[in-house]
Symmetry: C2
Amino acid sequence: MNNRVSFSLLYTFFHCQLWMYGGLDSNVFLQYLAWVTYPVVLITFSAGFTQILAPQAVGSGIPEMKTILRGVVLKEYLTFKTFVAKVIGLTCALGSGMPLGKEGPFVHIASLCAALLSKFMSLFGGIYENESRNIEMLAAACAVGVGCCFAAPIGGVLFSIEVTSTFFAVRNYWRGFFAATFSAFIFRVLAVWNRDEETITALFKTRFRLDFPFDLQELPAFAVIGIASGFGGALFVYLNRLIVQFIRKQKAINRFLMKKRLLYPALVTLLVSTLTFPPGFGQFMAGKLTQKESLVTLLDNRTWAKQGIAEEFDYIGQSQAWKHPQVNVFVTLVLFIVMKFWMSALATTIPVPCGAFMPVFVIGAAFGRLVGESMAAWFPDGIHTDGTIYPIVPGGYAVVGAAALSGAVTHTVSTAVIVFELTGQISHILPVMIAVILANAVAQSLQPSLYDSIIRIKKLPYLPELGWGHHEYYNIRVEDIMVRDVRYITLNCTYRDLHNVLLTGHLKTLALVESAESMILLGSIERAQLQSLLSLQLGRPRRLEYIKERATAEKKRLSVVSNPSSDDGSHRASQEVRFQVRGHCRSRIDRMESHPFHLCLMGCNLRKIAPQTTERIAEWEEMQLDEQVNFNNCKIDPAPFQLVERTSLHKTHTIFSLLGLDHAYVTSIGRLIGVVSLKELRKAIEGSVTVKGVKVRPPLASFRDSGTSSSENEATELHKLWDRHKSMSLPREHTPSESDEKSQ
Amino acid sequence: MNNRVSFSLLYTFFHCQLWMYGGLDSNVFLQYLAWVTYPVVLITFSAGFTQILAPQAVGSGIPEMKTILRGVVLKEYLTFKTFVAKVIGLTCALGSGMPLGKEGPFVHIASLCAALLSKFMSLFGGIYENESRNIEMLAAACAVGVGCCFAAPIGGVLFSIEVTSTFFAVRNYWRGFFAATFSAFIFRVLAVWNRDEETITALFKTRFRLDFPFDLQELPAFAVIGIASGFGGALFVYLNRLIVQFIRKQKAINRFLMKKRLLYPALVTLLVSTLTFPPGFGQFMAGKLTQKESLVTLLDNRTWAKQGIAEEFDYIGQSQAWKHPQVNVFVTLVLFIVMKFWMSALATTIPVPCGAFMPVFVIGAAFGRLVGESMAAWFPDGIHTDGTIYPIVPGGYAVVGAAALSGAVTHTVSTAVIVFELTGQISHILPVMIAVILANAVAQSLQPSLYDSIIRIKKLPYLPELGWGHHEYYNIRVEDIMVRDVRYITLNCTYRDLHNVLLTGHLKTLALVESAESMILLGSIERAQLQSLLSLQLGRPRRLEYIKERATAEKKRLSVVSNPSSDDGSHRASQEVRFQVRGHCRSRIDRMESHPFHLCLMGCNLRKIAPQTTERIAEWEEMQLDEQVNFNNCKIDPAPFQLVERTSLHKTHTIFSLLGLDHAYVTSIGRLIGVVSLKELRKAIEGSVTVKGVKVRPPLASFRDSGTSSSENEATELHKLWDRHKSMSLPREHTPSESDEKSQ
């Protein structure tokens, strides 16, 4: 319901701006001031508010949701603060009239609602405490976000699946439909209650003729729209990334902008709104129209131009904005497309809650309209040859273009469904489908989707998709990409080993093997668990205990050896030592807690302490470190995911995506021989994707026969390993050198 | 393209029947004969042809595809023979005019095409040899099947996902769209080329008014259609299963039908076509119309009845069939619904290639029409209150009813999309969505889907879905359902152990553990691999070698001991022995091959052989059996899937579905403690699903705290196990009794 409120607030803003602008028609300068000030203030407020309250609310939110649904915990993105910042920031940003979208933020807002609802419900216990249930809630929420944004329940569900999931559980499908249908229903019922509509209809209802929507011979034109949109979509993603990277790289600019965080949004807004100022350049690109109005006029079912000349067509209402006394409709359309293109790419880099779907959708519609108008001008009586004249419907082209360009930017095909639901007409289904598929084919082979691009820019922990047509994924094996130098701990290791392992590695979990010789994988232990084990062994309570013991012993010794007068002195000395040691301990423990990976064990701050005591503490530490680790109170994951050397990259990727893994151990008949984490997988996939044309074969791949694998191959025949295993079979401890060599 | 051919053949059949029927209008009896003979002959031929060529072609094919996409290999369902049988059988079955559908068989046919294409392409090597690629091909093929059946690419993709997948890889999504769009395009382009249509339009194009498709106050009526359809759908599935089970259980009927396999189809066809005979009872239920014609008339945008009386509405063409001089349109509709309902449920049990979607769709449309006509009769001037009169559109109700009933029977929501694509109008999106969701909610809580019902009837190896709202899935753990008595082999086992294990168990794969004491899981070996190991050890070559050796030794002994004259005799005897033994060996090996689990080792057919030789062979066998197994040439899967005791049933189900597992081992810190196969999982799920209201808690569940699990809990704290493990840590062999106890 919050979405609804923000929605109506938004319209209030729009009307305000137009009213301000309209009321000042005597003076162009005042008009300009009113036209420009309004968006600048709103965007600056939005940026500032978001920055202060919750910087996580910036941007679309779909990349983050994709990462969260992938299984990565990004808790700060689902807090109440973020919710408030997103709703208010989005309302202001949309109210500014900048070319910004709302479908990404709506997805995020719906997910925030779901997360907060889950958190609230979990107070009552029961099913809501379950983590996988929360993921289901979030998936349904994503569908709601898109669904109520466009009043497109089906398209919403499909779009949200495409942009957020890698593998989708069909059992969650109806949940999404249920939620999205109700959200769309409420959204449209509000319009009826507000007396805007008589009954529930589509958001951007079109009125194309039903009996003959398009001719078969028009299909090539639709295909052209699809292919061009594919290139356009890839260009948009590229441009968007370029702008972000340019601003980040230019250190001078960056330093300046960092200081004045609100300057960048204000400048961009100023530039964009100056260019769209209706009496100025805006007159050549229908600058007066809001996004919604542009879309309504672009989807109009009448032809604007015939025979290349802008005729006096029956302009009603908003459509007049496209008409300019001096220039052609085609020029207006081209200018609109070009200007909006870079404006949208630029505007979506502003740090406010905003999406890019709607601007891209409008640009696509304009491009489709341009092609449609050209076709109408070229074939004034339509293409159909059999008697009846069916004129070309440029609005249909606009629908196709909108679906194709937005599909290309987001790498989805469900935009086709969204346009049907948005326009309330499905007559152009085949042209739309063909254009969307072609646009996707082109765009996917050139650039990642906008959301994946943002994921890369933001460096979110996400696994890239396998591109299609890259057959080498079936030929690359885990053994080519795995890290052979696995950090492990053994069942009978000492605390010193533990300490060394913790100092060197960076993985979140460590493998537990039976012994360094057998290397049989028993499970994995989280780093934090090991750290607590270690700090338990060397921590303050133990240390104090030891020092107390030492002090007592010292006291005894002194009391035996020295005279009564020195007794008091020795007591003082002992106390001093204790104090110093305690201070030393504390600083050390503090350091341990703040830098838990780095335990500086050998004296650095020991200068103040008497050399004897220091030595003793060091001695004690050494003793403690040489003890065998007691794993009793340690949580062990007894079945970490295991792969085999010959598992293909394709299969590995599938398993990682399916199960949301972070890493997997590579074993060979129970023996740990390597580890693969998301990092290696990402490197392997990107390594072979980014280098175009050249197959980057991993170094070991060439030693293998190049025939593709059947799944049977993956049940490895490990003669050699097996032989070794057999030879040392039960008393395996005898051949350490050989095993050590292997484990490296 | 084969689908196309069958399609046009089908129409030829229809026209034949109508022509025969029309040409004989002088004599009712001859008319009846013509009306009845035609379907009976076609159905009987179809049943016979399918039975002889490939009985796998019988039925829908969707349940089988669901099972195959789940990862189970059902090779016989994807052969060329099945393809031929399905295409020809389906053509005849549809041509008969019985209430049979084609969408299931189309899915199967498209999958057959894909499978055969893959097989053909794999001749050229490369990517097509890969198994997972084949699954992707099949998934796309399923989309094509539905897509070209209804010219509904989007609905086709979604429907096929819903009915065949549990987890869907989004990266396969565009493949489905691509394939389905082209199939739908070709399908509709053929209609244009045949001059049936001027351009590409929807298959059952409707012409409802766009400006005011329905009033908000009509929504309750749509909801009623949804709920009633839910009950109706569940009843249909139940009725269908009841008929199958009744015929199977009645032994007398069954024996009779088994003898005369073609009698059942013929009888059912006779019954159905007698009842639809237009001059007979058929006149009261529009028996003259084919399914397609019924649907076209039901989706008509004009009102048939007003104020409860069948007026002289403008009957054009086929719609006249619904008009009867004596009875009301309502009576005709009710009779149509009731009769078609049981007829369809009965007809789909005939052993011919056929689906149930289309008949159900038509019944749903008729039910919707009935409600719509009633509404139109009740509110002759529409419901809208504000001035303008918008009469009720009963055709819209028919669309809603069709989507709702077919959605209820198949447990899908994508039927909503299919109806939009089928009718070319999306104006009724909200009523359709609401009705479909309600119908699904009702049907899913009462009965499995039609396809799941068939899976159960056919006992296909499929994992049932987790019903929704069953929270106990999160509380049941693997330890409650796993089989603790795991069949395993050890690394140092003898052939005798191998033999014993093979004799007792039935699982396809066996666990390989380090030793019976340590129970550390090293991998799994397929049963077939072990059998070949065993037969290698005891097989004919070895045996012959041994006998040859024996014979040589015997000969030597004889030649030394006895006189020269007996030399020849001994040679003969030796040869005889060799022959006999060879015969004996062969029979034994044959038996081994046919009953590989049962090696009768001790003499049974040994009577003919000299007792001495028999003894020696037995002795040799004993010796061979006592040797240690050499696993060198054995394919070992070094990383079988492992679960942990505390993994929840919900998670286990998810993992099994995601990875298409058949079984998984349960380990505790590397030690094998149990195994879970599909069987146990199915039992656990069905056990708690079928018993309504009563939570069937597994026996061990009550010992556990009832709080729901967080995923952290699943990283088990196994203090006790761990202690034991530690105590026996490296020289583990010392405590066999304790371990044995645990491993049981």
